[in-house]
């Protein structure tokens, strides 16, 4: 019980600090908007072509915009050496990690759920026909992205070129998850529910999430207090 409470305290702290300034979330949202706009110049946004590549388009927007938020996660602790205070507090590394990951999850999901209807409007696509399945895919893939991203945010927080390093580390690891999310999203936006021919992707997403959550929770203490 104490563990859950600590996770929630850390999560609430991160969300409150972010919502005070809204720096990262504003940057992330504007960036999502700009990328959505740029894509409309890259090809003719007619309904048919857009539907076919909607998965790829959306997940590139989500991954880029998400990176801006994830970069801030541990960087937030850098000012005033706040990480010292968290590490010396009587909470486990796992609670600290999950709290921060959940805060990031909420923020990234918020940006995605604003970008998604904008995509529908800009590209004149009715994307809601498989609404709940689409939400499930977004929830699963975003968690994968957040869990590895939060871990790498901890790995890169003290190093040179922090902002560049996070996507360089995170995107290749995420390729399977993003690939699966893209395939499923394209199908769902086109109105096709998840069926036998693509439910392997869903299983892969779940496996990816479970695997990396477990490994992160197991290794985060090593990253925080190291050798």
């Amino acid at each position: 019980m104490a563990f859950v409470r600590q996770v929630l305290v850390i999560m609430a702290k991160d969300l409150r600090a972010e919502l005070r300034t809204k720096e990262a979330i504003n940057a992330s949202l504007s960036f999502a908007l700009v990328v959505l706009l740029l894509f409309s110049f890259a090809f003719d946004p007619s309904e048919e072509t857009t539907r076919e590549i909607s998965g790829g388009l959306l997940w590139i927007v989500f991954a880029f915009a998400g990176t801006l938020l994830l970069n801030r996660s541990f960087a937030r602790e850098l000012n005033n050496d706040c990480l010292d205070a968290l590490i010396s507090a009587p909470i486990s590394g796992a609670a600290l990690f999950l709290g921060k990951a959940l805060a990031n999850y909420v923020l990234v999901l918020a940006v995605e759920l604003i970008a998604l209807p904008l995509f529908g409007v800009f590209y004149n696509v009715r994307w809601t026909s498989q609404f709940w399945q689409l939400m499930m895919v977004i929830a699963l893939a975003t968690w994968g992205m957040t869990v590895t991203g939060t871990m790498f945010s901890a790995l890169t927080v003290n190093i040179r070129l922090r902002e560049v390093m996070l996507p360089i580390l995170n995107f290749p690891i995420l390729i399977p998850a993003l690939l699966g999310a893209m395939q499923l999203t394209s199908a769902l936006v086109a109105g096709k529910p998840i069926a036998a021919d693509n439910d392997a992707w869903l299983k892969m997403l779940i496996g990816f999430d479970v695997m990396y959550t477990a490994v992160s929770v197991f290794l985060v203490e090593t990253v925080l207090v190291g050798g």
Partner: protein
Amino acid sequence: MNAVAVEDVWKFYGDFPALRNVSLSAAPGACLALIGRNGAGKTTLLRTIAGFSRPGKGKIAIFGNSPRDTATRRLMGFIGHGISVYDELSALENLMLFGKLYGLADPKKTALEWLERTGLDRVKDGLVREFSRGMRQRLAVARAFLHSPKVLLLDEPFTALDDRAIAVLQRLLHEALSEGKTIVMSTHQLREALELATHVALLNRGQVAFHGPRTAEMVADPGWVYARYGEG
């Protein structure tokens, strides 16, 4: 049992030993001042005692337990170089956050008490980023004392503090000692530190060059320890 016991501790950066076979101890109620030149390993030792990193070899015990144990961490308070409070949160929110993390019974009540003791009660809802330097430092002190730690670890506590914050900190440290708490601090401000210290340890290139009770000679001439043991 010693409040802080450091036994044959080595700490490596790669192959380079930043701490070499360091053994120190501090009994409950003692105040140990770690002195030494820059790069002698004071901060490394203090951070290792605080449990920020594990020693390469050797053992550190706080009342007999590892500093990484959750229960042990509840007994320790740390003030480092940064103030370790969040700019985007108010003074009260900051203290309540740490109060909750330390599992205090009534985080709000304790936080308000400490804001009063550090003279920040009138600005309790102000965001830390709007605070002056001195106010931020007093809040940092309140943050470290909030959970009434039994062992206080202070890294250069008097450096960069303004007069009022020094006064607050010194009053709190004297009070803590009189309550039988243990203090380990690294410092360059020999005069302030020696006044408070009951014991002194001099580090030289990662090794303990001297470890013993503070004597009258040291207070009379803060350079005495250095002159006697410094380059030995």
